[in-house]
Subunit: 386 residues, 2 copies
């Protein structure tokens, strides 16, 4: 096991009816900016519940934060924060809205000239404006971690940011929201959280037995609940395990003491930036090719995953590892998610070269757990995913 530091101060309020407790969690006298997305919260009853719970606070609303939260839109919200002397941010939505709130938390207290530098110059946020979340879409895990991903539309770029000051003070997770989520988003959430676990698990062994088993627990749970979620999102057993699995998949716990990969995300982000493909679907496109290309480096762990998660006990290590990649691909298909870039766009020619060039230009010369995936290898992986 590798050395690690771990701290996660976010308070989770999980279960039916927890939105009622919102007012206990926001500092008295706070001036609140309520952030949300495309307005689905006005259709599913969440907006009413949140508004009722906030009745004792001075609240300004800012809706319209898009999927893949955009810098340009967030800068409008930043102007409001400054003009209205906002003291607390409340994100009501999925990962995009929460990530947007994290950017605003950082930018509101940033003392540099240009908030875009937070993203391009890796400015870690030690102290941000306090914020909480009401999660309406289980997927990204952003509700219990300190990272965010922000998109700049004009340059088709997508960058990560983070820092210990960006943990939500609280997050409210009511699994009853799951029943109002469209199928496409449910499938995305299942694929996204599943891939989050894989990125932290499908590397090489450092003899971290407990972390491996925790990762396998989340994978097994997602596989178990996925058909029920797709069939009937009002199934509370499935919805609650789905929601808690998404949070545990990316709250820091399973990545502590082990190497992590994240090359799938790095490549996937470019596909979203270039083609607007849903984040989760880009992961499903890249994952099988990535594992096939890096088969030798990952096959021991792939075989362990085959045995423990997919109950594949026959055959050699190579056989099991290969079968695990097939099972993973089939899992994405079972969610209605395609796994080839050509399933999403006919304009895929040149994509691999473009992504490789972007990584070269940014100096991203070695991705993955061994920092060995150079841009020429990235090019090959993306091509395999056509």
């Amino acid at each position: 096991m590798n050395n690690f530091d771990f701290q996660n101060p976010t308070k989770i309020l999980f279960g039916k009816g927890q939105i009622e407790k919102l007012s206990n969690e926001i500092p008295e006298g706070a001036k609140v900016l309520l952030l949300f997305g495309g307005g689905s919260i006005k259709k599913n009853g969440i907006y009413e519940q949140v508004s009722k719970a906030l009745s004792n606070f001075d609240v300004i609303e800012f809706g319209g934060i898009p999927a893949n939260p955009e810098y340009e839109v967030l800068m409008e919200a930043l102007d409001i924060i400054k003009a209205e002397k906002i003291t607390f941010l409340l994100a009501v939505g999925g990962g995009s809205v929460i990530d947007g709130a994290k950017f605003l938390s950082a930018a509101a207290l940033y003392d540099g000239d240009e908030p875009w530098d937070i993203l391009t110059k890796n400015k870690r946020t030690i102290k941000g404006m306090p914020f909480g979340t009401v999660l309406t879409l289980p997927a990204t895990g952003s509700e219990m971690n300190s990272g965010a991903v922000i998109t700049r539309k004009e340059t088709k770029e997508k960058f990560g940011m983070g820092g210990p000051g960006l943990f939500p003070q609280f997050s409210i997770l009511d699994p009853e929201v799951v029943k109002s989520i469209p199928q496409r988003q449910l499938a995305n959430g299942l694929a996204d959280s599943f891939t989050h676990v894989l990125e932290q698990y499908m590397t090489y062994s450092v003899e971290a037995t407990l972390q491996d088993r925790f990762a396998e627990s989340i994978l097994q749970t997602i596989i178990e609940v996925a058909p029920a979620i797709i069939k009937d999102p009002s199934d509370y057993k499935a919805a609650s395990n789905f929601m808690w699995s998404c949070t545990m998949a990316l709250n820091g716990l399973i990545q502590k003491g082990v190497p992590s990969d994240w090359a799938v995300h790095a490549m996937g982000h470019e596909l979203t930036a270039l083609f607007g493909i849903d984040h989760a679907r880009t992961l499903a496109v890249i994952t099988p090719s990535h594992y096939k290309y890096n088969f030798e480096a990952k096959k021991e762990k792939l075989a362990q995953y085959a045995e423990r998660v997919w109950n594949i006990t026959e055959g050699s290590t190579d056989d099991k590892a290969y079968a695990a990649i097939e099972k993973t691909t089939e899992f994405f298909h079972s969610l209605g998610i395609e796994t080839k870039l050509s399933d999403y766009t006919k304009e895929y020619e040149g994509t691999a070269e473009e992504i490789a060039k972007r990584f070269t230009d940014r100096g991203w010369l070695g991705l993955g757990e061994h920092q060995s995936l150079s841009p020429d290898k990235v090019e090959k992986i993306v091509k395999m995913a056509y």
Copy 2:
């Protein structure tokens, strides 16, 4: 899954050489009371490492906190805290020293007349004196939770206490300490952490799939590393997984959203209070009888545990459940831990009645996940454990 709130702000610094970072974690200018136990830290090199790391602080030492931390001894430390205007407590030791620090953290800021009331009148601590820990004995999980158990020798009583103000600010976990721990303590740590998981898992299903799998992950890991720990405690793979498993077994995570039992601990505490039997060994005495007595209520979960943790796939639910109890008993024996009260004392007659009477006197009329274990049932379970 049941509703839950979860927050655990303790910062963990895990791995080789982490004690060096101690000075970064204590507030500048703090006046530190260094708490430790019987002096083993002066033999295993921990004392030197801690002293070196504290060289920039004003430190007063208080050693001699016994196993099952005693109120009388702790009250001496409380006098020092007040007389010397201590501002930060540093517990260097196992669960007893850490629990002692928690009592002192609470008592130092307690505004009542008699600190004993914190224990007997269930006074929850919202804000305590800040403290950190350097863990020298993996077992209790106290390094990452907000609970403590304190003993009063004169009355042979043992009580729990806690509250959100009693999380350590930080805990340093260096698995290299494991190699200096005597065999008896290693065995106790393995049995203690194993039983902690069982208390939160061996109840009834609330369809909390992820929590079940996490609990099973810890049990599997402890079973896997136990022989290696007993054979060679300098095996870093085993030591690190053992240490992190003990922490994860009782940091709150696996008990969220599920019912928990804790009747084994309630009965076990009395055996320690009455006979001075090591805490972990009292759990090994009570556990098999408790599961046999409550077989009908627990057999579904016992059978799941049999299948997933012990790979017992043949037979009926009853067969598997019974086999799981046998496997658990054998596991304790494999650690050199006996599972009958008569293995520890010849004066066991009347113990069951005495414990039942104590529970009646305290108004503890229904223990366990169904609050259905009345004192007459407790009497029967303890008798089965003779």
